[in-house]
Symmetry: C2
Subunit: 155 residues, 2 copies
Amino acid sequence: MFSSAMFSPQPIGYARTPYTNTKQIPKGLNAEHNAEGVLEILAQFEAGLTDIEGFSHLFVLWMFDRSEGFDLVSTPPCDNSRPHGVFATRSPRRPNPIGLTVVQLQSRERNLLQVRGVDMLDSTPILDIKPYMSSIPPETLRRGWLAEAEARARS
Amino acid sequence: MFSSAMFSPQPIGYARTPYTNTKQIPKGLNAEHNAEGVLEILAQFEAGLTDIEGFSHLFVLWMFDRSEGFDLVSTPPCDNSRPHGVFATRSPRRPNPIGLTVVQLQSRERNLLQVRGVDMLDSTPILDIKPYMSSIPPETLRRGWLAEAEARARS
């Protein structure tokens, strides 16, 4: 079932974060991700950061490099009411172990991006960075099981 | 520079879209992405979609499978005022050829997700789907060269 023409992922850099163990990462309902970290981009990719300072927020794509295998269905810690499909969660145990985090860009010095909002382990390989260009208006969002679990937690 | 422990990407499905040629895809300032399409998930991953219907919007990670090589710096068609680094653009020519699109989920039938907002070519391999859980408030966004180019286009 593997395609003949996929690619070989390579790190463009590594995340420096306060987290050495997944237990330290805030999870669950209302988890706040305000931790500061550094995206350390490899020197040979530094030119790719040209002009990035103009963006306040970035998408960071990274690899769950300390996760093995995947579960199609699981029960997240913040909602044990019923199991959810992996594509309806942020579980690390995914068919392709790619993580996605929105961070706030605070400053750049050469190949180092100082950011806020990291939620990955220290030394996580970074695969890509993209500018965050627009938001879905919050009033148009439906958030499924997450909203239901939040409502239960409040009541 | 390749890490010893990267992963082998595999398609979890394929996008069915109206676009067979990149020239057909709306690009540039104010490009609207309202095209409808179908995310056809492979049967063996269908269980991973459990409960996804509750979300109005999804992140789709996919592969630029018809793009080869990368440019660290380039001049996007909508802004020839100066070159931009690849990580400050959505260029397909990236070190890891991964695309990211936010789509609106309209309905699901078994392994088929009917969505709005596709901007990838027909038959594009899908790598991952994640729920869109929250938005950065639009008033806090800075959008760098894109905002500058929009301002120039209006004047």
